[in-house]
Symmetry: C2
Subunit: 237 residues, 2 copies
């Protein structure tokens, strides 16, 4: 079955207190089964998850300072990059804090609880439209070993973020080996294809993807537990 | 603009010497600008990039042995997983060797040169259909820090695998910070959404994505050079 990646154009600049679901419902014609992928940046803006540099501090300095203050683990710290583990468990550069597409020199922080953000947006969308949709909150992360960034899921609501195919058989009857597909990350990555960072299309509707319902979904399932992670070197601060 | 992810159904079981482009052209109605995402597994089968366990060796043992023989670096080696750097520079479990969807107990190896595979398929598709398409060869890799696997690009033809947005400005005129988008990996991940590993849909057409032409494209641009990689621990064997 064909899947469509549909950008939602025309959203206004988002400010603290804005109702994202209301704006999405007004600008998109949702259908049952859609996955609504929302960029972290507008979730943080709507929730007021912003910070400001101190007087005399430039944005890059402020970002490193705040990332370090928030870190539960310093994974790498060089002149070029600070990689930390956040309270959510995400491992990313500068704790996901950044300064692009934020007005007036402010910095956007990650939402306190991106799953809760996704659940709120999903609940409101269902109330407003009557449609049963899933929601993914996406952010742009780098990765070890590979160049460039891709979008990944930092919050989910309604859908299982990982599809477990263990125990399945391939077309020859052999046991499937690659068996836990990070579908929420693949949804986030797919949504990123329909926009450039500069063009202000922070919401994408994915139509036709057959997701597995999960009312207790959490993107924390996408976080490898530190004790199982061969590559999460670094120390608690 | 909406992007479509279109599965190509009905492909037969692939064997050594099969002309993948001929099969794709017969089963898909391609348009100019399409990206054709082809699973590594059928590329390896068509190219005969297979290996067999030695007598008395089970597939998992054989996979580890061959992965170790092919490794340019052992990145991690535990009871549960062997992560190596391959001759291509990819860092992945078991050198990308696996046993699912391969007949008769054989193991599929990565293609020798997945960019060359992609170029051959692209050239043949253009000759057969007259369409200007790009080709991505995709494989399923795990990743540090996050659970589950996603598909990534191991070979590309026709399109720039990374879109460099450095120097761009956001909607507030600020310099964009997240600026190198691994679009080939996002294309591979998106394609994976339309199939399950078990269902035998190894080719997906992505329609409507605005790619940057690059006649000298190589997926090696997606490989972080080891000397810039903070997380490629391990030694040359």
């Amino acid at each position: 079955m064909t899947i469509e990646l549909i950008p939602v154009p025309g959203l206004p600049e988002i400010g603290e207190g804005d109702d994202l679901a209301d704006l999405v419902a007004a600008h998109a014609d949702l259908a049952d089964g859609d996955v609504v992928v929302v960029a972290q940046k507008i979730v943080s803006k709507a929730e007021g998850a912003l910070a400001r540099p101190r007087p005399g501090e430039d944005p890059a300095q402020a970002r490193r300072r705040i990332a370090r203050e928030q870190a539960t683990r310093i994974v790498a710290d060089t002149d070029e990059v600070l990689v930390t583990e956040t309270a959510h468990g995400f491992v990313c550069a500068n704790a996901g804090i950044d300064a692009s597409n934020v007005p007036d020199g402010a910095l956007s922080l990650l939402p306190d609880d991106p799953d809760a953000s996704a659940r709120r947006i999903r609940g409101r969308l269902q109330a407003l439209t009557g449609r049963d949709v899933a929601v993914v909150v996406a952010d742009t992360f780098g990765r070890p070993w590979r160049m460039g960034q891709t979008d990944v899921a930092i919050g989910v609501a309604g859908l299982a973020p990982i599809r477990d195919e263990r125990g399945g058989a391939d077309r020859h009857g052999a046991r499937l080996e690659v068996t836990e597909v990070a579908v929420a990350d693949e949804l986030a990555a797919a949504a990123d294809l329909v926009r450039r960072k500069a063009d202000g299309v922070p919401v994408v509707v994915i139509r036709g993807f057959s997701w597995e319902p999960d009312e207790a979904a959490t993107a924390r399932l996408l976080v490898r537990p530190a004790e199982q992670d061969l590559f999460r070197r670094g120390e608690k601060p």
